[in-house]
């Protein structure tokens, strides 16, 4: 991204000073009956940072976000948004959010709906500006119940942005968007973030976290299992596996190959988990002439999580 604060016409910081303290989640715990949705997580986000909350379905991302927004009270732990409880931050218009799923209020046009929401905030962006920015100016006079899924998501994005928030929360925002809409969405999000805004988005797509976040917080089973720059997280969970027929090779020799982290034998075949599958395949071909039936596949995020969290307690 090459966006700089001066190359756009939008005046993101009109009428307010950007917040300096960041977001602090400390020791958050939340259970629903016997289900321990969030099991004591600590996350801090510096002001101006763009952080992805990455994890499979059921990892506790949405529950965490609901607590961050004050929609749910944690069983234990504290939430601080720019130094205040969530409600206070919301009341001063510092928070905008696109919640998971949900439709739009009906019987209004897109413009009317965005205006209605805009009227609730102390220092909103101009309605026309938000419509323009989120690419919905041309559907501004359409009734909200007559929009496609992708258009609905864009309007929801406009509703999240209209308050001109310092903190933008996006809970799996690109669900129901096609490829092009996704790209447009992230471009807008990056542009917004580049104005010194803090962004926290939940996703279960590694690619989205990798491409658009400064930092990735990896969640599984209600806990944070990793927290670091995208490249680091990608190396952890973005493993590929090489599967090949290789009946006689010793496992120790395979484990020593460059880019290979783990080796397993399954009958005639071996399965190599790789941190660098490109290097591994070259090394494998160079070392073993007899290798055949080679398959390389990306490990799904779910599979990666299983590896990461195996050994940890998983009982509810």
């Amino acid at each position: 991204m090459s966006l700089t604060p001066t190359d756009q016409g939008h005046d993101w910081q009109s009428a307010q000073v950007a917040e300096t303290l960041g977001i602090e989640l400390a020791g958050l715990v939340k259970s629903f009956g016997a289900v321990r949705a969030v099991r004591g997580i600590d996350v801090s986000v510096a002001a101006g940072e763009t952080v992805a909350l990455l994890g499979p379905n059921g990892a506790g991302k949405s529950t965490t976000i609901d607590m961050l927004l004050g929609l749910l009270d944690p069983d234990a732990g504290t939430v601080s948004v720019f130094g205040t409880p969530p409600r206070a931050a919301i009341d001063r218009g510092a928070v905008g959010a696109m919640l998971q799923s949900g439709a739009l209020l009906r019987d209004l046009t897109v413009r009317e709906l965005v205006s209605m929401m805009s009227s609730l905030y102390p220092h909103p962006l101009g309605v026309a500006e938000v419509l323009e920015l989120t690419g919905i100016s041309e559907i501004a006079d359409r009734r909200t119940q007559k929009l496609s899924g992708g258009q609905t998501q864009r309007v929801r994005f406009a509703v999240a942005l209209v308050s001109n928030p310092d903190l933008l929360i996006l809970d799996e925002p690109t669900v129901a968007m096609d490829v092009e809409a996704r790209r447009d969405f992230w471009v807008t999000m990056r542009e917004f973030a580049s104005r010194g805004k803090t962004v926290l988005f939940a996703t279960h797509y590694l690619e989205e976290a990798d491409a658009y976040a400064d930092r990735v917080v990896l969640m599984a089973n209600g806990s944070v299992v990793a927290d670091g720059p995208p490249t680091e997280i990608k190396a952890m969970v973005g493993t590929r596996t090489i599967r090949a027929t290789l009946p006689d090779a010793p496992l120790e020799a395979l484990e020593r190959l460059q880019g290979v982290s783990l080796v397993e034998r399954r009958g005639e075949s071996v399965v190599l988990s790789c941190t660098d599958s490109d290097a591994a395949i070259r090394a494998l071909l160079a070392a073993f002439d007899e290798v055949k039936d080679i398959e390389i596949s990306g490990a799904g995020l779910e599979q990666a999580f299983l590896q990461l969290t195996s050994g940890d307690e998983v009982a509810p």
Binding site: L71, L72, D91, L99, A103, L104, L105, M116
Partner: protein
């Protein structure tokens, strides 16, 4: 109160066909159908009221009841699409949210009253300015419990079932309240007297120069108001805890 927010809330309600049908169109048409042929009756069913006056108030009660309860339909609709959560992450307070719903209900009820008063005048209802004002005052007070009940229904009922629930509830309340025909004597009247809809219809008695409700009426309205508010608080708390 946030004027812009209220404006869009009103706009949404005015664009809703169900509102126009149950709160305005239906009672208006029914009024001419029922009261029209009985225009000459000066003592309807022993009430001492002329048919045009009695049914004007009866159908105004039905329409305004629907107007108030339609706030519940809007709340249920907002809940079903998750909009209540979206609103909870804005500076809009719960109090203002409900106030906007109740004010909208009252403005709609005002429309219904204006339409039926106009229709009543066409069929020869003549009251003094004082009587019009007193009757209107009683109806507006009698609608308070319905504002609370709308909020209760909105938080307990899903949009799928809100049509039947509201239709059934208003039909029953209207019937026992004497909207369609005067109920005099017997168990039916005893039941009716315990309902707020009955006292809405009774507001028409000011046409006799009889003044306001008897004490029973005030007690019933007060009890439904207090009960309704308690139920609304409970329903709201139950709903927000669940999400």
């Amino acid at each position: 109160m946030n004027g812009a927010y209220l404006k869009y809330e009103l706009l949404r309600t005015l664009r809703n066909r169900r509102f126009f049908f149950f709160s305005l169109g239906f009672p208006l048409v029914l009024y001419f159908l029922i009261a029209g042929p009985n225009e000459g009756k000066h003592n309807l069913g022993g009430t001492g009221l002329s048919a045009p006056l009695y049914f004007m108030v009866g159908l105004a009660a039905f329409g305004t009841m629907n107007a108030m309860l339609s706030a519940g339909a809007r709340i249920a609709g907002e809940r079903s699409v998750g909009w209540n959560r979206q609103l909870r992450i804005t500076p809009l307070s719960t109090r203002t949210y409900f106030r906007a719903k109740v004010i909208t209900g009252y403005l709609m009820a005002g429309l219904t009253l204006a339409a039926l008063y106009a229709a009543g005048s066409v069929l020869g209802v003549t009251l003094t300015a004082h009587q019009w004002a007193q009757m209107t005052g009683l109806i507006l007070i009698g609608l308070i419990p319905f504002a609370a009940l709308g909020i209760v229904i909105g938080h307990l009922v899903t949009p799928d079932s809100i049509g039947p629930v509201m239709g059934g509830a208003t039909a029953l309340l209207a019937l026992l309240g004497g909207t369609w025909f005067p109920i005099t004597g017997g168990a039916m009247q005893k039941i009716g007297e315990a309902l707020p809809s009955y006292w809405l219809v009774q507001a028409g008695h000011v046409g006799l120069g009889g003044g306001s409700w008897p004490t029973t009426g005030w007690i019933v309205i007060a009890a439904w108001t207090l009960g309704g508010i308690a139920a609304a608080r409970w329903a709201y708390a139950r709903d927000t805890k669940k999400v």
